[in-house]
């Protein structure tokens, strides 16, 4: 069985949903406390959502210096798969494992709702079972999801197929959700083994919860 590690910081609140979703995808899961210095043997590390350190200073800015993050960085640099969801995305950008940064939503409101997203690139492990252009319905819940990258960085992302999802309407037309540059909702690193996104696929895994698109989205992790 494949093994996943889900990190937990003070203020993390999505670790159990993430655990549940990963078990559905066939993983055995260890939840690992941020003070640990070593990662257990695993195929995937997930940095889940929440409000690590109360979002003090900047979302993710303090968590990224937690002892476990050194091990996560080494794991990623060795090619290990790392997925950051919401606060996890913020932590990974703060850690420099992903390009860009996440600012306060342009509306200044906390946005919590189902949101359509479009798969922009799927030539990576995480989204390999999706097709480019697929439209999924996945919840978002964030105050700091306004993705920023400068023009030079944006050009690089495009050139290397690193923009993985964009916010859209049900027909797939781009929408402005939170002010993100080009409605970007998720990006990966250059070597495509680190993926961060604001939407919460782990919250769209049971029909009773309104959508199973989260499972559809991350199905590629099974293999």
């Amino acid at each position: 069985m494949k093994r996943a590690v889900v990190l937990r910081f003070p203020g993390t609140n999505c670790e159990f949903d993430t655990d549940y979703a990963l078990e559905k995808l066939g993983f055995s899961v260890d939840i690992v406390w941020h003070k640990e210095e070593k990662l257990p043997e695993c195929d995937l590390v997930v940095v889940p959502g929440g409000f690590s350190y109360g979002d003090y200073l900047r979302s993710g800015s303090i968590a990224r210096f937690a002892p476990i993050m050194k091990a996560v960085t080494e794991f990623a640099n060795r090619g290990g798969y790392v997925l950051g969801i919401c606060n996890g995305f913020q932590i990974l950008t703060e850690a420099g494992l992903l390009p860009g940064a996440l600012k306060r939503n342009n509306s200044l409101h906390f946005i919590s709702k189902f949101q359509h997203i479009k798969i922009v690139n799927s030539d990576n492990k995480f989204l390999q079972n999706c097709k480019v252009g697929d439209i999924l319905n996945i919840p978002v819940a964030h105050a700091d999801g306004n993705y920023y990258i400068d023009d030079e960085g944006l050009a690089k992302l495009k050139e290397n197929n690193q923009i993985l999802i964009r916010y859209c309407d049900e027909n797939g037309d781009r929408v402005v959700l939170n002010g993100s540059v080009e409605s970007i909702g998720g990006v990966c690193n250059e070597s495509k083994n680190v993926f961060g996104l604001m939407p919460h696929p782990e919250r769209a895994i049971e029909l009773a919860l309104g959508s199973i698109d989260g499972i559809k989205m991350l199905e590629g992790l099974r293999t």
Binding site: S61, F65, R104, N106
Partner: protein
């Protein structure tokens, strides 16, 4: 020694809070306001033997933690 670090979003990076405050000022009748930028002020008390040492250390703090230089600029003032 005391250091004051001011952190602001870079020029050219839209500041949603500043923009909201500018609109609010406009609706209060302050019509001459062209732009508002909202930042953070971080005041640090530290042990350092000289101003130069303090500055060097606070620069490191700013680069590593206090500012995210992807989107933010900072200034440092050593006060005493």
């Amino acid at each position: 020694m005391k250091a004051v670090v001011n952190v602001f979003l870079k020029e050219g990076v839209l500041d949603p809070q500043g923009k909201a405050a500018r609109h609010a000022l406009g609706s209060l009748g302050f019509n001459g306001v062209k732009e508002v930028r909202i930042g953070k002020q971080i005041v640090i008390n530290l042990d350092a033997t000289s101003k130069a040492d303090a500055l060097k250390e606070v620069e490191q703090m700013s680069e590593t933690l206090l500012a995210n230089t992807v989107i933010e600029d900072y200034t440092i003032e050593i006060v005493e």
